[in-house]
Amino acid sequence: MCGIVGYVGTEVRAAGAAALLRRMCGALAHRGPDGEGVHVGVGMGFGHRRLSVIDLSAGAAQPMASADGALCITYNGEIFNHVELRDMLEARGRRFRSTSDTEVVLQLYEEFGTDFVTHLNGDFALAIWDERRRCLVLARDRMGVRPLFHAWRGNTFYFASEMKALLQVPGIDAEIDPLALDQIFTLWAPVSPRTIIRGVSELPPAHIMMIENGEARSRRYWSLDFPDADERADGRSEAAIAEEVLALLEDATRIRLRADVEVGSFLSGGLDSSAVSALAARLAPGRLRTFAVAFDDPEFDESDWQAAMAAALGTEHHTIRCGADGIAAVFPDVVRHAEQPILRTAPAPLYRLAGLVRETGLKVVLTGEGADEIFAGYDLFKEARIRRFCARQPSSAIRPHLFRRIYPYLPGLQQQTPQYLAAFFGVGTDDPADPLFSHRPRMQTTAGAKLFYSDDLRAALRGYDAAEEFAACLPSAFTRWHPQHQAQYLETSHLLPGYILSSQGDRVAMAHCVETRFPFLDHRLIECAARIAPGLKLRGLREKHILREAVEGLLPGEIRGRPKQPYRAPDSAAFRDQAAAYVDDLLSPASVGAAGLFNPVAAARLLAKSRRAPLAGFRDNAAFAGILSTQLWVREFAAGATRMRAQPAA
């Protein structure tokens, strides 16, 4: 895993190009401690920070040029099918100088042009300079595992794995984009390609971009697609479908164990990481090492399940205990790496977990992330089903009781009367055709935190609707899909890359130069899961039914049958002791007023309320984490220079 940077254009003078590239690389040093390289050509330059995982020799160093020097690549990621691609290319007469997957990508481009990307099965963000065409090609993996950002300055185009590298370019500054902030406070993440920095964009997942003659054009090369709702279901037996799921998951895990270093696995104690760990323990050459977070607070802790699963698999298990102080102490670092405000503290324990992985000497871990999206594991999918069920008989006093069943871990909800349950979850049920139907309650609860916006920020957002912008980005086929598939698409196309794989994934892992690999996000498995009937994924209120069937025989019965426990961490409760002393300053009226984004009086009262007792409601906790992380972001990247300027939404 690595970090990449580069530019194309005439703004950078040759004399200062290498120094600029090294400064940009320096901002990404955490992503690649094993080496640094720069390449400066005419009107272009590439930089690379290397974390050696496949072919540890100098022969695999980057940026890497083709044999004839006409192509140059800087590449972050892994191509898991590089062995098969190499065989295919050799059969077509190509010869290789190294055993690296980087050279495979380069030769694949030589062979297939920009269609090369459709052959890749992997997690990557890469740039290829084609000297003959004088064209820069950027590409990003299908699900958005690896990040890739870009910005124009004058006639020069810059790109980098993280935005902090772009901020090394003179003239590119961290001016906050109020629309992106509002998207985070509505949807938990900006709507791609928008980022929190005005003028900086990301290359969306599954996109390839060409920059030629001073112009950029991009296209999507892969789509998450579902069958039409009225399409005839797969006629195969449930057992046959489960068999296919297991075979694909096993192969996805097998090729993700390819590395010239040891590969470990996260083990949360739930179904998904247990399945991946079980397959890895079977396929890995030595004794598998597994890693988990344990919480002091039993409300969040799953360590008993983790220990049981580790014992069943015979893995060498490592645990990091996470108390409240453990979250507060690292939260500023988490925001620095995430590079955007976050509404939950959940990335912090994962940041510490990645640190533990690195301390044990590992560079690569498998995770079970992605299964909840593709096999309908999240409570939100059940919630949407119950909301539609309730909407058919709005006067029913019995149906709303079902909401209690899906949130047994939320005491506040358990105590509600059916009338209040119906009221809380009833938002949007009068419009079942709304494309965002499944996500309206979450959006409404999250948006409650906007109460804390400053007057200036409100003015800048006047007339703007983040949900409307999100809905406008949906593909035309969306309306033909089954409602559950629509909900799965929203979760998989937005929250997964925008938050789960970034703030809780690549960013916190790469902060410790640990590479995470996701067998469930192998596109072959995703395409298979998308074709499976909604009822086989969510059977009644039993989530991931077909996956549970698929892993029968692989996992102990109590793990396989265990209801999902969402991964959560203490939010405002984590900021009540000495480790959180910095919060008083960041949320002081002076600091909040200086940043200009939130109401200083309201923020001070929120802090005071959290000091009296831990905040209990979702809205207050989301506001606390959101305001605190935004204040940290401003301090880290904008140095107080981004006082909100009231500009109309555009």
Binding site: G412, V427, Q444, F618, R619, D620
Partner: protein, 90 residues
């Protein structure tokens, strides 16, 4: 009395759910749920406040939007409870 009860309830909501921000419109007929002012925890906070401040006992069946979703309804509910014996929604 009703006016002062309404004022106290309003003050509680401004302090606890609006965090002192009194600039937002907060009409007696405004839905607390539809305007994102209370979530499931907020309702329990509100009930706790009503019981402590006004010395009433709120039955589970009375915790319904018909009694508690606007300042006006809450004030009316408290008035009925204090008057004792009046049949309530729920």
């Amino acid at each position: 009395m009703s006016q002062s009860v309404q004022s106290e309830i309003r003050a509680f909501i401004v302090e606890n759910f609006l965090f002192g921000d009194d600039s937002q419109p907060l009409d007696p007929d405004m839905s607390l749920i539809d305007n994102d002012l209370v979530d499931s925890t907020g309702i329990l906070e509100l009930v706790s406040f009503l019981e402590q401040r006004f010395g009433i006992a709120v039955a589970d069946a009375e915790i319904v939007p018909a009694n508690l979703d606007t300042i006006g309804r809450i004030a009316a509910y408290v008035g009925h409870k204090r008057a004792d014996g009046t049949r309530l929604a729920g």
